[in-house]
Symmetry: C2
Subunit: 213 residues, 2 copies
Amino acid sequence: MELYGYWRSSASYRARIALNYKQIDYHYIPVHLIKEGGQQHKQAYRQLNPNGLVPTLVDGKVILHQSLAIMEYLEDTHPQPSLLPGNAQQRGAIRALALDIASELQPLINLRVQQYLSQQLEVSDNAKQAWLQHWFKQSFQAFERNLEEVAGVYCVGDQFSMADVCLVPQVYSAQRFGIALNDYPIMMGIYQRLLELPFVAAAHPSKQPDAEV
Amino acid sequence: MELYGYWRSSASYRARIALNYKQIDYHYIPVHLIKEGGQQHKQAYRQLNPNGLVPTLVDGKVILHQSLAIMEYLEDTHPQPSLLPGNAQQRGAIRALALDIASELQPLINLRVQQYLSQQLEVSDNAKQAWLQHWFKQSFQAFERNLEEVAGVYCVGDQFSMADVCLVPQVYSAQRFGIALNDYPIMMGIYQRLLELPFVAAAHPSKQPDAEV
């Protein structure tokens, strides 16, 4: 398999964790989101991914975008170890938490939105920082409340799942943007445990060939 | 089952289409997103849904938020008729398109973001309209390009799927916000066919008990 991604992109980070967890070998192809006006906008890449976003997974003739669709595809084709363990109720809780991050928080704070705020709306750096603080706080407060109901060692019970895959890059991103994280003890406890898993550690942005550190 | 929703919310509209498609009887409980400062923020509702968003599905002891997690749960518990027909490749394409709407477009144009733009950033009505136009155009252009590869009678091939469920409310929302739709002939052809399906028609906002028309 081939994974087109960017070291610091949280959706790429999710895909790497999922591939590592399932012990699937893959070839990593960096797409630089800043250089040359953003390589994700080049025509060759847009052929693979019309949204001009990372990641994209290529598996033979299958070309797939959207990190959650990629994870569900890996689950379909490589069921073990599972990213969606448990019964229907638990899978529901896992997917809800994964989507709380992927469909509520991340879309509001990603690069293209920050660029629009600065360039089109000419929002000040302070107001942009307030935007980030606001959406992280809204989401993480609700996430912590949800964890009170469903968490164990990991986000949903004691088994690693797709919800954990989504949590790791989001906390990484929060730290990058200087978001205060003291109010989320359950979430941060899980995050610390997740960082110790070797397949999570290997997916860290700083360990990727395109890392700039 | 009980569905907490709002007539005009696109995520609620998705859940209604999916429930109708699977011929699952449900009790609809309106949550007014504007009145009383937004009933979704009341403590009783936040107990069910800490995000303060609609919809929420209650199925016995299962309480589930996030429309895509709700659809996957319905698929798990009521597999036929399927919202994810076909093989792993087709299911991948279905989920990618569903997420293009649910994780890229809708989060940027929903009520809480429009309120933040107006109230916190004091963005003018014109600039807010430009924001809406921009994100709809970005997403719908890519959606049309993706449809060139995978569409048939419906979004992915000739079978109704979760991608179609997500498309209908998004076009409804685009029309509400005065978005030009001439540049998306494949998408709009599919949309017209979808509107004729009785289980889609019955889910229309104007047909709900809390509709204000």
